[in-house]
Symmetry: D2
Subunit: 307 residues, 4 copies
């Protein structure tokens, strides 16, 4: 149960079988930092190439293919005061005829991220939005484990191994589960957002560097198909694909499997999910979109399949 | 500002230019009933053919093409105690390989809908789910106005005119806006659900008949492109299409238009939506899927564009 | 086996239960005309509103729900020399980033359609294309029968009843089969193209009015799910939906059903189609896209299931 | 202009920055072999793991990022007589309700591939198909160059770098162009099919090992976005994505760019493509689908933009 302080010096813009930066054990905790999507650190100095550069990978001992790795985000705090967003909703999120009628030129928008007031306000001059105050909700946009088959996959996208899911629910207090594909799992993380709208529709949240602490756990001989997670109130699954319909299919199927693993018969699982399921939209900007399927733990407790 | 008591005797399974059952004025209120998706009334007796039969249409005087019709749901209460759902998640919502591996035979599941305790419990014997208690959240699955171009569109699907959107947010207290396509607008409503999971993934909510009261308002010379709505906390737009990506495009574009109508410049609208937008999933079962795009009224108030 | 000369005077921009313009018998032939997509006739005079106005509907006696109606296109000839196309590929057919970078203003392009040389050339001045000569391949863009459930569906789109499929293979010599949904079937046709690229990607073919002759046949007690057709070399099925993936699903499933109806076991049908199937793209412009799935008659003859 | 005889001993199931097996020069020709999708060689002996194992990569000297690599398939001949297919159409290609109604158990089907009669017949006993004779049309299912960003991408899928496109047109006589992403380009190839239906809808063609000869050419300082190709009659582009709609967008946009590079103004390119474009469907089975957009060289010659 060691706690490791780790300061990254190299970063990766693809998730795969890179040289581990640290070997840790199941149960260990890591305190580290992430740079922003553009490679800028806590001093807002660019220290690596842009494109969601990842801290890691961390090699978790005993993790082997067909195991599951759990990551608990203990603490996620922006470590500088300037954040940045894009200014234009992505054309793939808009009606093609609206786009064809003419789009504004985009530019970078700067935000003041204040961890004392726990809020973000515009730093760039935007008269119409000068009274806009958004509460911080720091989340990790891109994280995951080395994919199967010797692949190394761009941090622009996501799949069964995690990746650039840009889901607002991946924040402090959540525990996320990934299928382990290679020895040591090789956990990567980066792309912090101080705030993000659903869907990451401008292609960015308020991009910022983080101080971050997480704790890992290896669950031996546990096979899952897609990222899963739980927070205080929900268990949830993430499907990553295009179109969004397919992300829905993956996430829903994975939650049905989870309910069956919890002891529910198939028929009961279908009936229950039909009337009690909820969905959150992750990103609709990246090459793979993300849809989250979830159900309240209180319901699972009522029917006696959750402790 | 009359209040009309109206008891339907005929119903329609397509939304279009049917003979109006009642002529009402802008500002009027209607108290009426709806049968369930199978054509069963408050006594659970089948009085018309199945397929989301609609009460109406109501002819609203002065409503003309290029106007907008608003519908406020004043009161929505189940008027019988038995509700029914399907038992199997629809194959289009599941991973094709999961479906190919074998699906259970479906059957109708009965529920006790208790308006005193405001909750639903299973009436059919399902041992694993006997302690399941779901709070009621009555909503109207299918409603809308006559479509353009002389069309008459099945109540199985939805489009710009509304229709079978199966969105949980269309419940008591919401005000919904539709583009008027024909003189009198011709408002239809039906397909009540006592409870529904997001997405209506088994193809039904807890299907039930309703006592329902709504109030209409004609907004002259106001053109909208897709259904819009507001509740106490949000303004929202609904896009209806397949795939879900296209529903996202329609809903997002319509909310951008709305923000611009409220006085925000295009650039400010894009920046704001990027970090403050939220999405809800309507149905992912019907021929057209539904995605809802929304933003908090409190944010609009902060920046001075909402009263 | 009568031959009817029919000159339309009214047209419809939705396909549905309109008043029949002519009652005919199974086996009868009709010689008639169609106006172009903009409502212009053989004299290029606008005689009805734009939007793929349809000639008909024709009431075919003895056709009842659960029958199939066959339409053979005996002759399709442009009846004037001017045709028109749009000038810009539709934004939904292009990469959203290409569209966002700026689209040219569109305008109508005129073409000389010469039935003597059986070719089309540009009439509008387009220096780069002045030597372009395209062979005529006249086809019917939008045709079909009244849909089920009392619906009346815009001629902008398509579904199981046919409609605006914009498939180049629906030309002289083809026999098309539709499921009959209402007594008399109510056959409509219009939207002639002298030439069309696959996909109708600018949203038009070379739009023109036609002299057209077709022969109908009622096949009693024959249920099909989607439009089917045959020409000299192929049997084919058309799926109409979005996204294109779903059109593929409908068309492929319908061709599998057809092969089973011809006497092939399910396993043999799957094995055969796997290595011998071909696909053509109908439209990717309209609200529903069209994909055609087909197999060579010569192969069916080789294995003894086609006469 | 050397000709290299190369016999592979190792294979890769992801396309990426693997150790080159051979360094060659622009203009050189390589005679080599490929194993089938299951790793079986000319003797039908499994020599490597299954999953479209690739021969290569070949390092082409002088190829650098922002160049284009051309591959001409000089000769493609099956080098053994047994081929294999799957027996069931993939569930993602079928109507979900058809799949839910029950799928047959799949099994491997064996075929006799006869290069003397240039035809394939069933070796497995399938009485209904015993007279089926399909002409050989050998094609390379999966080939491409190392992707950008240090990625290594599974040979199950495809993207801008090529990969598992499963397009019938990638056969002897075609020249294919890829964007170069890394020094040396790193060309891989494998997954030969003696015959394949459009779409590879059972997930396989008639899978077989090949003797194959290809010639490479580096085109310096030529940037393309997606794979392009030409054969005797057509120039064509391949878009790889899901849904198929997005593959259409990529392929169509890339062909427009190509026409502009050939000297056509944007407006002329759009007008021309609108009436002269053709599409072929590559695969609709793999994680990314493939659509091909093409235009006849004869048309380009008529208007003076092709030699």
């Amino acid at each position: 149960m060691a706690t490791h302080q780790f300061q990254p010096t190299i970063y990766h813009t693809a998730i795969g079988a890179h040289e581990p930066v640290l070997h840790i054990k199941s149960g260990d905790t890591v305190c580290t930092t992430t740079v922003d999507n553009a490679g800028n650190d806590a001093n807002d100095i660019q220290v690596t190439e842009r494109g969601n550069p990842q801290t890691g990978p961390f090699y978790i001992e005993t993790a082997e293919p067909w195991d599951t790795l759990s990551i608990h985000f203990d603490r996620i705090v922006p470590n500088r005061s300037i954040g940045r967003t894009a200014s234009v909703v992505a054309p793939n999120v808009l009606d093609p005829h609206y786009v064809a009628a003419g789009m504004l030129e985009g530019s970078t928008v700067e935000w003041n991220v204040d961890v004392d007031t726990w809020s973000a306000t515009l730093a760039s001059p935007e008269p119409a939005l000068e009274n806009l105050v958004l509460p911080l909700e720091p989340m990790v946009g891109c994280f995951g484990v080395a994919p199967p088959r010797g692949q190394s996959i761009s941090t622009a996208t996501s799949s069964t191994h995690g990746g650039n899911m840009d889901y607002r629910g991946f924040k402090e207090g959540v525990t996320v589960y990934f299928p382990v594909n290679v020895s040591g799992a090789l956990f990567h993380l980066g792309d912090g957002h101080a705030v993000q709208g659903d869907g990451e529709i401008v292609g960015t949240g308020i991009e910022i560097s983080f101080d971050i602490q997480f704790t890992v756990e290896v669950i031996k001989n546990k096979i899952i198909n897609w990222p899963r997670a739980e927070n205080e109130d929900y268990i949830l699954t993430a499907g990553n694909a295009r179109p969004l319909d397919q992300a829905v299919q993956h996430a829903t199927t994975e939650l049905l499997r989870w309910l069956e693993e919890l002891g529910l018969e198939k028929r009961a699982a279908h009936i229950l999910l039909g009337q009690a399921v909820e969905y959150d939209m992750g990103n609709v900007f990246d090459p793979a979109y993300t849809m989250v399927c979830k159900i309240k733990k209180s319901i699972l407790r009522d029917i006696g399949i959750w402790g």
